[in-house]
C-alpha cells in the first residue's frame, strides 16, 4: 500500500490545466508540422502557418492557445494499492481545476445548471472518469475540451447488419457535418462497441491517444488509416476553407458489445487537441 496525499493531485491538476492550454503536446506538434509540408491549398498552408505562429505566441507570452479553454475532462487511473489521504478525491480534482483556471488566466466556461445557465466562475466542476487499475500509482490525464468541436460530436446506434461499412459511413457523416465548425484540421476520436455511454467514453479517450499511433488490432488499424485518407479527401481543409488536411488523426477504440447492437461514437476535437498526462 502506498499513500498519496490528495493535495498532490490538486497541485498536478492545476499545473496540467495551465500547461494544456498554453503548450501544444509533442505528438500534436509533429503531425501539425508534417501537415504544413503536405497541405496542397495555398490558403490552407497560410492558415497552418497562422496556427504555428499562434502556438509560438501562446507559449512565449502565456496567452491561451484558444480563448475556449474548455470544460476540464479528467481521466484518473488509480492503482488499487494506493491509499488516498487528506480529503475527497473529487474535491481535490475540482480544487486543482479552480486554481488552474483562476491563477492561470483561463476562461471560465462552465455554467452550473444546463438550463438556468449561471457561470460557476471557476470552471468547476470537471468531468471526472475514474478507473481502478493494478499497481500503486495514480495516472492523471487532463483534456480541456472546447465546445466548438464537442457540439459536432455524435453517437450512432447502428445495427449489426450495418457492419464495418456502417461505421465508416458514421465517421464520414460526423466529419462532413462538423466541417468548418470544429476548427479543422481535427482529430477524430471513435468508439465502436460497448453500450450507449461506453462508446462515447471510448471516443473521448481515443482523442487522448498519441497522435500518429495506431490500434494494435489489425482491422482497427486499417480502419484508422483508411478513414484518415477518406476524411482528408473531403476537401474541408484548414479552417474549413478548402484543402487536403481535414484531420491529423483518426483514433478508434473498441469494446465487446451486445448481439443486437453496434454502437458508434464520434468525438471530434480541434487542431489543438489538448491533453497532458502525468503519473504520481
Amino acid at each position: 500500500m502506498r499513500t498519496v496525499q490528495v493535495s498532490e493531485i490538486t497541485k498536478n491538476i492545476k499545473e496540467m490545466c495551465i500547461e494544456a492550454n498554453h503548450y501544444l503536446s509533442k505528438d500534436m506538434e509533429a503531425v501539425m508540422e508534417k501537415a504544413a509540408e503536405t497541405e496542397k491549398a495555398p490558403l490552407g498552408k497560410q492558415i497552418l502557418g497562422q496556427l504555428r505562429e499562434n502556438l509560438d505566441i501562446a507559449a512565449k507570452d502565456m496567452i491561451p492557445i484558444c480563448q475556449d479553454t474548455g470544460m476540464s475532462v479528467v481521466f484518473l487511473e488509480i492503482g488499487q494499492d494506493v491509499h488516498l489521504e487528506g480529503g475527497l478525491l473529487e474535491d481535490a480534482v475540482n480544487e486543482g481545476v479552480r486554481q488552474g483556471y483562476t491563477e492561470g488566466y483561463l476562461r471560465k466556461s462552465v455554467v452550473g445548471d444546463p438550463i438556468l445557465r449561471e457561470n460557476t466562475k471557476d470552471n468547476t466542476p470537471a468531468v471526472i472518469h475514474t478507473r481502478i487499475v493494478g499497481g500503486d500509482r495514480v495516472k492523471i490525464k487532463v483534456a480541456p475540451k472546447g465546445f466548438g468541436s464537442e457540439n459536432m460530436s455524435r453517437v450512432f446506434m447502428l445495427k449489426p447488419a450495418d457492419g464495418l461499412e456502417g461505421v465508416k459511413h458514421a465517421i464520414l457523416t460526423a466529419v462532413k457535418d462538423a466541417g468548418p465548425n470544429a476548427c479543422p484540421p481535427m482529430v477524430v476520436g471513435v468508439g465502436v462497441g460497448g453500450t450507449f455511454e461506453k462508446c462515447a467514453l471510448m471516443a473521448k479517450e481515443a482523442l487522448t491517444r498519441e497522435a500518429g499511433s495506431h490500434s494494435s488490432i489489425p482491422w482497427v488499424r486499417e480502419l484508422e488509416e483508411e478513414m484518415l485518407e477518406k476524411v482528408n479527401s473531403l476537401g474541408i481543409g484548414p479552417g474549413g476553407l478548402g484543402g487536403s488536411t481535414t484531420a491529423f488523426a483518426v483514433n478508434v477504440n473498441t469494446y465487446p458489445t451486445h448481439i443486437a447492437g453496434l454502437p458508434v461514437a464520434v468525438n471530434i476535437c480541434c487542431h489543438v487537441n489538448r491533453h497532458v498526462v502525468r503519473e504520481v
Binding site: 480563448q67 465548425n181 476537401g235 479552417g239 478548402g242
Partner: protein
C-alpha cells in the same frame, strides 16, 4: 484578394468585398456571443433599444479569456457562428453590417445577408493568441454580469479575416472545398 479596410464600413464598401477576399480590419468592432444575443433579442421583444447603435457595425462572436496585467485582452479567437443564427436575421434587418465568426450559417441568415447587403467574415478558429495581438483596446459596454459573454467594444488593427459569405450570397465554405474534394 488582399485588402485593408477601416471599420465600421458602409454598405457600399461591403458590396465591394467578394467571397474569398483576405481582409485586414482596422477600427472599431463589438463582441457578442450566445448570452448577449439572447439578451439583445429579449430587449427588442420588450420594445427597448439595443445597448449600442448597431447600424453598419460589426459583431465579433467572441468571448475572451481574462487579460494578464498590462494587456488589453486575453486569448480572443472566434466562436461558432451557427449558435447565433436564430437571432441574426433580426439584427441584420436592423442594420448590422457584418459578423466575424467561424463555421456554417443557416439559409435564413444567408438570405438576410443578401437582403441587407452584408458580409460574413471568418477568423481562424483556434488562433486566439495571435488574434489577441491585433486587439489594441477592449472595453465592456454592456451586460457586465455576463463575464466573458459581456458586450465589448474593441479597437482592432489589421485584424485578419476572410470573406466567407459576401453580399451576393457566395459562400466560400461551399466553393473552396470543391477544388480539394476527391
Amino acid at each position: 484578394m488582399e485588402k485593408h479596410m477601416h471599420v465600421p464600413m458602409t454598405k457600399e464598401e461591403a458590396a465591394g468585398l467578394k467571397s474569398g477576399d483576405y481582409v485586414y480590419l482596422t477600427g472599431t468592432i463589438y463582441t457578442a456571443r450566445d448570452a448577449a444575443h439572447k439578451r439583445m433579442d429579449e430587449t427588442l421583444d420588450q420594445g427597448r433599444d439595443l445597448p449600442f447603435e448597431i447600424k453598419d457595425q460589426i459583431i465579433y462572436y467572441m468571448g475572451p479569456s481574462p487579460a494578464r496585467e498590462g494587456r488589453p485582452i486575453g486569448s480572443a479567437g472566434p466562436t461558432t457562428a451557427s449558435r447565433m443564427d436564430r437571432y441574426t436575421p433580426r439584427l441584420l434587418d436592423l442594420g448590422l453590417g457584418a459578423m466575424i465568426g467561424k463555421g456554417k450559417r443557416t439559409q435564413d441568415v444567408m438570405d438576410a445577408i443578401v437582403r441587407n447587403g452584408c458580409v460574413y467574415f471568418a477568423a481562424v478558429g483556434g488562433a486566439g493568441a495571435l488574434l489577441s495581438k491585433c486587439i489594441k483596446r477592449s472595453e465592456v459596454i454592456a451586460y457586465d454580469d455576463l463575464g466573458t459573454e459581456a458586450i465589448r467594444r474593441l479597437e482592432v488593427e489589421d485584424f485578419p479575416v476572410i470573406v466567407v459569405i459576401d453580399s451576393e450570397g457566395h459562400n466560400l465554405y461551399e466553393t473552396a472545398i470543391r477544388e480539394y474534394q476527391k
